[in-house]
């Protein structure tokens, strides 16, 4: 309820809550920030960091596999590396990378001053950080989880995973789960309620649309994994027998619960990238997006159907031919809306004045790479064929093509495309192109040969193989390529940081783009829009440039620009839950202390209210 001014009703002993932090610069300002742009930047940097960590883990894995009979990382260490590589990449790198763009771009694209709940937004970020800390703390506290990222029961039971690794893994995922759920609900409310007047849902930019669909996927999929994790935690620590066959339990329940979450998760990763690509391709083809409505509706269809295909991860479990056939059919069906998107992008390119700037290169690469991943997906979407491919390197090739080729390439495109908006700086075009080719080529050299390894029978997750399997040459080649890919990605991020530090000032609209975020300065002022826009058409900003008429705006508020107050509470509540998580792993009293801190800060949060202040408007004419 922005703009709802009410006085705080507090007794004297609580009046200190009225003193809100006001620092504009320095560490404190970042810890207490509620500005969606700053939180977006925090997400961006933190996910870059975890991408680096996950990448190192991947290279360790590849080193072990580079030749037959190596003994660099053996047994549990190797399993921990595999598990943590996947977990870190999915939950701490790719998903938050999407969140960085959601945070920064959704309010700008829909013409809002901030998200619906600015403090909750900060809380989401700190919870994500806490989850990352808990997950990675396990490395230093007796070893990480070694049960694989989908942690099949009963491998995760106290009998087979006696260290605290799995406990850390469970709590880390619960924390990031809270973060994502809360953020998702925040974005849903923001998109439904904070759009500029006149921007109906069918006039909303495609990226915001895909964020909207993703947020629903998150809100409905994460509770399921949370329950699964809680049950698992109880099995391990409180003696229940949910997944213990000996006591009548059923390990398959875990698989169902996990994949009911796990498959929508795939679309949680890919849909934001699709949204980014759907923004970039029209801009660099100098054409409106072909079939806007179809792109939006197919995105929503993917969202719905994402909940109907989970059992295709479990074809070899023995669910019976009828279930397998049913899920084969739904899996084949979900390729249709995905195909619709691909055709729409291609038709947007058709007859366009295509300009291959760096974001466009990543975007078109995504279209190609995701198709490769999609086709191999269709192959093991057919249950009979999956029996051959299940748990082989073929699957590893497939999901790296979808998650990296479909996800990461979109986010790299987004990083280059929106860097001017994030930091007001632009990346060097020439070097950007070179880096793109290094990444693109080494990516294909790394992951394409994995198809061959898979078809010749190499299982995933094995730590070594003997020379007579004849996998050595390909594996050595893949390892070499993976190191090139790792270095290329590292250079990309160094280039980003160099650009941010450089003096290549970007203009407000360096790409001659179509959506509202480009109508304001780069980087945007803290209040985003001095005058809130009024929307009449899709791509209002583009229309205004073509017709040379400024975007219509709302009348100004006589009080000034309404801003949400900064707060310490999101940070303190997150610290409370972080402490409680460590306490829960060790079953110590720390958990009560942590929960106590959380509860106190939570009441502080409720009582301090949304607090607000007003900034003066800038002079008209000057943006």
């Amino acid at each position: 309820m922005s703009g709802h001014s009410h006085k705080l009703a507090l007794p004297k002993f609580l009046s200190f809550l009225k003193n809100r932090p006001t620092k504009e610069n320095g560490l404190v300002s970042w810890l207490t920030t509620v500005d969606h742009k700053r939180i977006g930047i925090l997400y961006l940097y933190t996910s870059f960091f975890f991408l680096f960590v996950g990448g190192i883990e991947a290279l360790f894995v590849r080193s072990q596999l580079s030749a037959n009979d190596l003994e660099i990382f053996v047994g549990s260490t190797y399993n921990q590396l595999v598990t943590m590589h996947a977990t870190t990449m999915i939950f701490l790198a790719i998903m938050p990378l999407a969140a960085a763009f959601f945070n920064f771009m959704i309010p700008l694209q829909i013409g809002a001053r901030d998200v619906a709940f600015p403090r909750l937004n900060a809380f989401s970020y700190f919870m994500y950080l806490a989850g990352g800390i808990v997950l990675n703390a396990s490395w230093f506290m007796g070893g990480a989880s070694d049960a694989g990222w989908f942690a099949y029961a009963p491998l995760t039971s106290a009998t087979y995973s006696p260290t605290h690794g799995v406990d850390f893994w469970i709590l880390g995922l619960i924390l990031t789960g809270i973060s994502s759920t809360v953020a998702a609900i925040n974005f849903i409310v923001t998109i439904i309620n904070m759009r500029a007047p006149g921007m109906t849902l069918m006039k909303m930019p495609v990226f915001s649309w895909m964020a909207f669909v993703t947020a629903f996927l998150l809100a409905f999929a994460l509770p399921v994994i949370t329950i699964a994790l809680i049950i698992l935690f109880m099995d391990r620590n409180y003696g229940t027998t949910f997944f213990q066959t000996a006591a009548g339990g059923d390990p398959i329940l875990w698989q169902h619960l996990f994949w009911v979450f796990g498959h929508p998760e795939v679309y949680i990763i890919v849909l934001p990238a699709f949204g980014i690509v759907s923004e970039i391709i029209p801009v660099f083809s100098r054409k409106p997006l072909f079939g806007y409505k179809l792109v939006v509706l197919s995105g929503a269809a993917i969202g719905f159907m994402g909940f109907t295909v989970w059992s295709h991860h479990m074809f070899t479990v023995g669910m019976g031919p009828i279930v397998n056939s049913a899920f084969s059919i739904t899996t084949a069906a979900i390729a249709i809306p995905t195909g619709v998107k691909i055709f729409n992008w291609i038709l947007t390119l058709w007859n366009g004045k295509i300009k291959f700037s760096v974001p466009m290169m990543y975007s078109t690469a995504l279209v190609f790479l995701f198709m490769v991943g999609g086709f191999s997906g269709l192959m093991h979407g057919a249950a009979a064929s999956d029996f051959q491919q299940h748990d082989t390197y073929f699957v590893v090739a497939h999901f790296h093509y979808t998650i990296l080729g479909g996800g990461l390439f979109g986010f790299l495109a987004g990083t280059v495309y929106w860097l001017p908006k994030f930091f007001g700086k632009i990346m060097d075009e020439e070097r950007g192109r070179k880096i793109f080719w290094w990444i693109f080529i080494s990516f294909n050299l790394t992951f394409f040969p994995m198809h061959f390894l898979g078809t010749s029978g190499m299982p995933r997750r094995i730590y070594t193989y003997s020379s007579d399997m004849e996998w050595t040459a390909l594996n050595g080649f893949i390892t070499l390529a993976s190191f090139v890919l790792g270095i290329a990605l590292l250079v990309f991020f160094i280039e980003v940081i160099k650009a941010v530090k450089s003096k290549n000032k970007a203009s407000a609209d360096p790409w001659d783009a179509r959506t509202l975020e480009w109508s304001i300065p780069s980087p945007p002022p803290v209040y985003n829009f001095a005058d809130l826009p009024k929307i009449e058409k899709i791509d209002e900003f583009w229309e205004s440039k073509v017709s040379n008429k400024p975007i219509k705006t709302l009348p100004r508020d006589p009080h000034g620009i309404h801003m949400p107050g900064k707060s310490w509470m999101p940070l303190i509540t997150s610290i409370g839950l972080l402490i409680a998580s460590f306490g829960a792993v060790y079953e110590s009293d720390l958990r009560y202390i942590g929960l106590g801190i959380f509860l106190l800060a939570y009441y502080g949060w409720a009582l301090e209210g949304e607090a607000e202040y007003y900034l003066p408007y800038p002079k008209k004419g000057k943006k």
């Binding site: 309820m1 922005s2 703009g3 709802h4 001014s5 009410h6 705080l8 009703a9 507090l10 007794p11 619906a116 709940f117 759920t181 998702a184 609900i185 925040n186 849903i188 409310v189 439904i192 309620n193 904070m194 759009r195 007047p197 921007m199 809100a219 409905f220 999929a221 994460l222 509770p223 399921v224 949370t226 329950i227 699964a228 809680i230 049950i231 109880m234 409180y238 003696g239 229940t240 027998t241 949910f242 006591a247 009548g248 339990g249 059923d250 329940l253 619960l257 009911v260 009441y603 409720a606």
Partner: protein, 250 residues
């Protein structure tokens, strides 16, 4: 199984129905006198229009609904999946326990029916709480808010008693699958009720600090939204766990 009859359940629901009907009639009669169309002077009308404009002026969201209300609707939708997974786990493991005690060995239908009745009653009180603050009647608000709080607390008391009783009967969390799923599902619901009870108590205290006003009735409305949701979930849980054990037609 002669100890289990439908009679107490039916009796409880009938009593509940009658009680609700009586209260609703009373309430309707009370409002009937207030809602007669009064002839208002022009001045009155202007004052009301000004007041309306003042209230609605600040709600500048796209849909006109306050953000916080939308937040709770989406959160509750998400919570449905949370309970949905738990109920699924319960149903999948129903009848799969290898050792006793089994549900019918420990359930006391009468007791749980009474506590269910009290929880449902609290939903009715919640409606009255919201309606009184929407009218700006702080005294009534405090009364009904406290009544709702007491009902919630009583329900929790029943649950604690029930758990103690079950443990006494030899049903612990780790005894069998029934114990695990039962305690997890009802316990999670109990935590939801406990949060609601804390929330109600908080609102009750906050009203003495002047934090609850007619203009901020939305804060009470969302608490109500949550409270009704928790009650509805209990109806499902009660049906799934308790009523499905009744030997109806079998």
């Amino acid at each position: 199984m002669e100890a289990l009859k439908l009679q107490p359940v039916i009796t409880a629901f009938t009593v509940f129905g009658i009680f609700v009907c009586v209260l609703l009639t009373y309430y309707a009669l009370l409002n009937l006198f207030k809602s007669f169309p009064r002839i208002r002077s022009k001045k009155d009308k202007e004052a009301i229009a000004a007041e309306d404009a003042d209230v609605h002026h600040h709600v500048d969201t796209y849909t006109g609904e306050p953000n916080i209300k939308l937040f709770w609707w989406v959160f509750l939708a998400s919570d449905c999946m949370f309970f949905g997974s738990l109920i699924t786990a319960y149903l999948i493991y129903k009848g799969q326990s290898l050792v006793g005690p089994y549900p019918l060995d420990v359930f006391d239908m009468e007791l749980t029916t009474i506590s269910t009745f009290i929880l449902l009653l609290s939903s009715f009180f919640m409606v009255l709480t919201l309606s009184s603050i929407q009218k700006g009647d702080l005294g009534k608000f405090r009364f009904w808010c406290f009544a709702t709080f007491l009902c919630g607390l009583t329900f929790l008391g029943f649950q604690v008693y029930e758990f103690e009783h079950f443990i006494h009967e030899g049903l612990r969390l780790k005894t069998n699958l029934f114990g695990s799923t039962f305690y997890l599902l009802t316990g999670t619901h109990g935590v939801h009720v406990a949060i609601g009870v804390l929330w109600l108590l908080g609102m009750f205290i906050y009203s003495f600090w002047g934090g609850i006003t007619k203009e901020r009735a939305i804060e009470v409305e969302i608490a109500g939204l949550y409270w009704h949701f928790v009650d509805v979930v209990w109806i499902v849980i009660f049906s799934v766990i308790y009523l499905m054990e009744l030997p109806i037609g079998g």
